[in-house]
Symmetry: C5
Subunit: 260 residues, 5 copies
């Protein structure tokens, strides 16, 4: 569970409610079903025009990913690559074949098995880099769906308000209904802005952050595999991979992996 | 038929209508011919200034393409390239000449026939990459026309409202007409925003997505052709091309193409 | 004459007039000399701060270019380069010297005369690519002047309205003048938005499009000249250059130039 | 202490207060606790959705860094690298090992100790460049958190105002409360805009500036270390490094370091 | 004196005054000291947060540079480089040493003296290119300060108006003061927009233009120096450098420098 996303999710709603109550309003006063249809429904409809079916429908699954905590395992990766490197130096590259079954990371497994199969370094690099580029392109497409949604939501919010205003202006007789009608008209503007600033925009950003971390971890694996294949000293490999860690994590494990 | 585009097209209108009816309005209340001229007509006129004649007129044909379902055939491409590769290994590159007639993809045909004609790899790559760059540039020009249109529409919507306000303010005597006149003035703002957020912006995005998929498929063909020419093992070729597929599709065919 | 620019020019005005008449206004009602000064004059004054004198003054000449039809001659270029290539193969590169006088395109002439003078390929490429980069940079500077103008115009429109409102608010006694004064104040907003969305933004875009086409044509000439110098087969040269054409144009001439 | 940040911090508040007092208002009149919750709290909640926990919480520590004065020591770096270079020429590269303990800059120490350990130039460059790229990526992530915050704050400010308006419109009976209620509603717009334009946007920019300076200093160290390893003349090294300084600083030390 | 900047400076003010007088206002009516503090002062305070002290203070000196006319001397550069090249061919590279004292351009002097000192071409290129990159980075930092300022000014203008509205709404009793108070509140919006659209935005653009011209001139010097070092024929050097000039300037001097 990515607690941060949950905190933001609940916190944003709470802050809005503080605003509602302090201005003498109520939850009922800012809730309106038709406004949900116009703002959320309308901007979601636009996603079907801007993206393929599977992305427009699958976006909720991706939103769910923002609530999940991922361990990109940069620290573990350094330690694992160093131990693989030591073993390869001691027992030869083919000795790594036995370890393939124990590894969880499919990216690492792919790299090692190509190495064991005798592919040359340039080929391994090209294939793994294309894996990364394709994964990143897929992540970007998902983030783009959210970015598009965040862009359309305030537009539909504004349209809802304009529609409400038009309805109100065409029927000005009942003066007592003017205020409430105008109030309802404004609700879509609130929803559109809330959706964009509290949910969709930030979620897109979290996807981009997750992608950055994942690509960093994959890059470490890539450099590690190629370093093992070249027959680098495990200490050299550790030096290379440590540069991918932030200073604190690096300090925590550098003694360990730079031992000999 | 790209059902998603249709769903978005219909869904967006439906959501707006929910807003209209819930605010006590009617379809007639938000329909105004002059407003269509100002918003749709005005912003469309701008396209003739910003683009050449054939693009300003042809944009409707391109919009039609967003309602058509394309099969970029990434899965089939892997299987086809592997079988071409196997044949080339067995019977030599020239044996592929007989197959040229059966192929549908002009890009693949062009690559293979250059190979059969004896062009070297660098030349084939240069020509095919220029094909891709030119195709992408054409797609980008079309998407840009839609992006421009999406940018001008809200501006003309706002202009229409300002014009309506000016007309109204110059003639304030008939108080009973104030509300309805103001309502009509706002209709252009609604149209401009709807056009941009529901149609033109999302359509531009779908064109960009179609382009990405097409370029990905072409890149696979390009790598495949060059791999065949180099005489790569079909298994190596399959490994390379599989990296272009998303994990699910890849899992579905990897056993098949990585057989031997 | 670029008819498209003219259509857009006239069409945009027509659509705005439909809006004016349908809202019961008149041309006189949205025309105001002082508003022209504030909006057009004010934003044009900003151009003198943001650009050098010759660009601020010369921008009208550049706007004129958007009304002119250019033939970038991509189709003719292929045919010309192929015939030059055939002659060079038959009679040697020096034979092209006689043809220099008959050529209109200064870029092609420059490339061929360097070739005839015996410059090597890398040098010809470097010089022609710098020609292209410099031409593109000049085009971009002009487009940027229009983009800046399009950016400032709505700002001055808004300023004019604020100034009008300030004047009106300081003098609220004469109630009968309130409406008309407010109407006049809004005219600058209309002008600013119209200028940006109907004229300046689209014109900048047309300049960028003209630049793209011109650079594409120059790239074809560059590749053609280098191909002739390398002594490529005219058929190979034609294959290369055809990739620069859109599919329709290509189909129209490919039989002709690929005759071999 | 970065006095500039402090001046801006205090100055911005002072200018706003001038505005408040000159319009006959008071500090109490623009202070509202609920508005702080909606604007600051709401946009801060969004940060938990858009960034990982440690960034959302740690952003205050990073804001603190903008109040701290850093000495990126570009001038000292030139002099230090020249003296290291002279020593290396006189006594050999290994003589630098004794100096490692006296150096403060961990980046320089890392470079020199790799050199002393006998790593080759390409490897040292690759590792140091990755150090720089990773440091820059971390800085960019922090700046991005501020940029996101600056983007959400005006949105929440606007939402607060809409919420206030809705509350007010639903309860129009007490005419005497209309003005004050509207006034309170506007306070969130003020806060959101102030937060973005006075604090968060500018702070993000200062982080980017600090990053630029730091990267420039690191680049100097990198070039210096590689220059020492290549055995460049100290004068050549000084010539190279001086190009990284602005003209004034350069003039101040060039005689000194170009002595020989 | 850059007359264009002056024309724009005076012209923009004049156009605004036309707007003021035509709407029945007066200079006094749009002048308000507190509004200057809020808008100009407030946004200037933000510069101290977003930039280092010396940039926040020095920005006025840089603004002054936009009123100064620079001669980037592209035409003279061609002629000078050709004559240097001719001399180097006749009398050897060392003969250029005597001319160093007569040259004004420090960039050219640096390049030539490195050449005379016997540095190799790659080293000269690396050092001169770093000089250019560092100069450009400094120019960009200054332009960025103006761009930031232009971005904050309308924000502070809007804040001033909101503050004025809040003050007015809290004190609605004196109806006769409503109009004038509202008028004063709007003045900051006017100032903020004027500052951004008439002054700060355009000035940033002029700095960018000056930078482009300066970099173009430096690039010519760089290519010229390297061409002299390689021992190119002066005619070849002239051909190369002429491509950096616009067609008109080029036509004016090409006969002269291509004499051979």
């Amino acid at each position: 569970m990515d607690i941060a996303t949950l905190i933001g999710f609940v916190g944003g709603v709470a802050m809005i409610l503080i605003g509602v109550f302090s201005s003498g309003g109520s939850v009922a006063g800012i809730f309106d079903v038709a406004s949900v249809f116009v703002t959320v429904g309308g901007s979601y409809a636009s996603l079907f025009i801007c993206a393929p079916m599977n992305q427009a429908i699958g976006i909720f699954r991706i939103i769910g990913r923002c609530f999940k905590r991922y361990n990109f395992g940069e620290k573990d990766t350094v330690q694992l690559m160093v131990s693989l490197s030591e073993r390869a130096r001691r027992e030869g590259i083919l000795a790594l074949e036995d370890m393939l079954g124990d590894l969880n990371d499919p990216f690492l497994k792919e790299g090692l098995s190509m190495m064991v199969d005798g592919h040359d370094g340039a080929q391994i690099r090209a294939i793994l880099e294309n894996e990364m580029a394709q994964a990143e392109a897929r992540h970007m497409e998902w983030a783009n769906v959210l970015i598009q949604w965040a862009g359309y939501a305030p537009g539909f919010g504004m349209m809802g308000t304009v529609i409400g205003l038009i309805g109100m202006l065409r029927n000005l007789e009942d003066k007592s209904r003017l205020g409430p009608n105008m109030a309802v008209a404004l609700i879509t503007t609130l929803y559109g802005s809330f959706l964009a600033n509290w949910l969709l925009g930030p979620l897109a950003n979290k996807l981009l952050w997750q992608n950055n971390r994942e690509m960093n971890a994959k890059q470490m694996v890539l450099e590690g595999v190629l370093s093992i294949q070249t027959g680098d000293n495990p200490r050299v490999l550790a030096t290379k991979l440590l540069t991918y860690l932030d200073p604190k994590t690096r300090a925590a494990i550098s003694k360990d992996v730079l031992k000999d």
